[in-house]
Symmetry: C2
Subunit: 153 residues, 2 copies
Amino acid sequence: MISMRSKYGLKALAYMARTKGKDSFLIADIAQAEGIPKKFLEAILLTLKNNGILSSRKGPGGGYSLAKSPAALTIGAIVRSFEGDLAPVQCLSETQQSSCPECLDENTCGIKLVMADVASAVAAILDNVTLADMLQKSEFERQKRTQVVDFAI
Amino acid sequence: MISMRSKYGLKALAYMARTKGKDSFLIADIAQAEGIPKKFLEAILLTLKNNGILSSRKGPGGGYSLAKSPAALTIGAIVRSFEGDLAPVQCLSETQQSSCPECLDENTCGIKLVMADVASAVAAILDNVTLADMLQKSEFERQKRTQVVDFAI
DNA sequence: GTAGAAGTCTACATGAAATATAGATAAAAA
DNA sequence: TTTTTATCTATATTTCATGTAGACTTCTAC
């Protein structure tokens, strides 16, 4: 299960990417629009900034902006900002060279061998889907549903 | 990240499957062999029994046995016993019809659409790898490493 | 039929992590 | 220099994973 942080982060970014005609956003506005606790969102946006996904300006007229275009932001990079890793077990961490504390022989650990396949499958998906792709999927789904309703009426 | 429960469960099952010439195992022996806290392992094996993966007999000469052959036990079924689900978000649960508490419009939620792909990729792997496969991967790796050492000497 | 071996159940302890909240501080613009 | 906005530090709360203790039940062998 991914954390609320990741979900809130994705929601905030999706909101920013989808709102045309604005490039700077106030924490309070995003929080309100997406139903995210404001103080919690503060910390989340800060994390995204520290990971190079958002940029910010203080003072009047300031706020947060996307550091790159939605088509250049992968879901993998966003989720990693919060989860630290996509690895299903510690010994497969992408960022630290660490082994699972309980493992007796990491070299031949069957769990690790199986989970390595899972890890690369997950990474292959999340690193090849961008924020723009996610919005497009969502929009496509919305269109499909509106049409169904139209026909029904 | 998968839980310690899942890892300990997999380790215990792997131990039972790999130990030839025995079909009934004492909790204490498994705990000792795999370095798992005994009382914790009790609860874990009980979960596996309740999920039809192990069977047990009480009394002298009793113990736990695999309910099916290792080739008939998928890693997916084992992990699900502990995690309840393989879903990366609540709204994709395989077992409950539930939505994510924070979701404003689940029908067009981009996160859900992307994570659905992740969920099926993970399930495709774990439901097609058996306990026997896992042992075989492990053994193959062990052989490979022993050979390397032999050559080095 | 009873003694002891083994699994089963209930309850709780503990610690860490996720999820927030409060309030002070710093920077920028007008 | 006042207002607006992000940023930082600290802390509260809750939940969950991990693990322990001890009583209880069931079974087998003798």
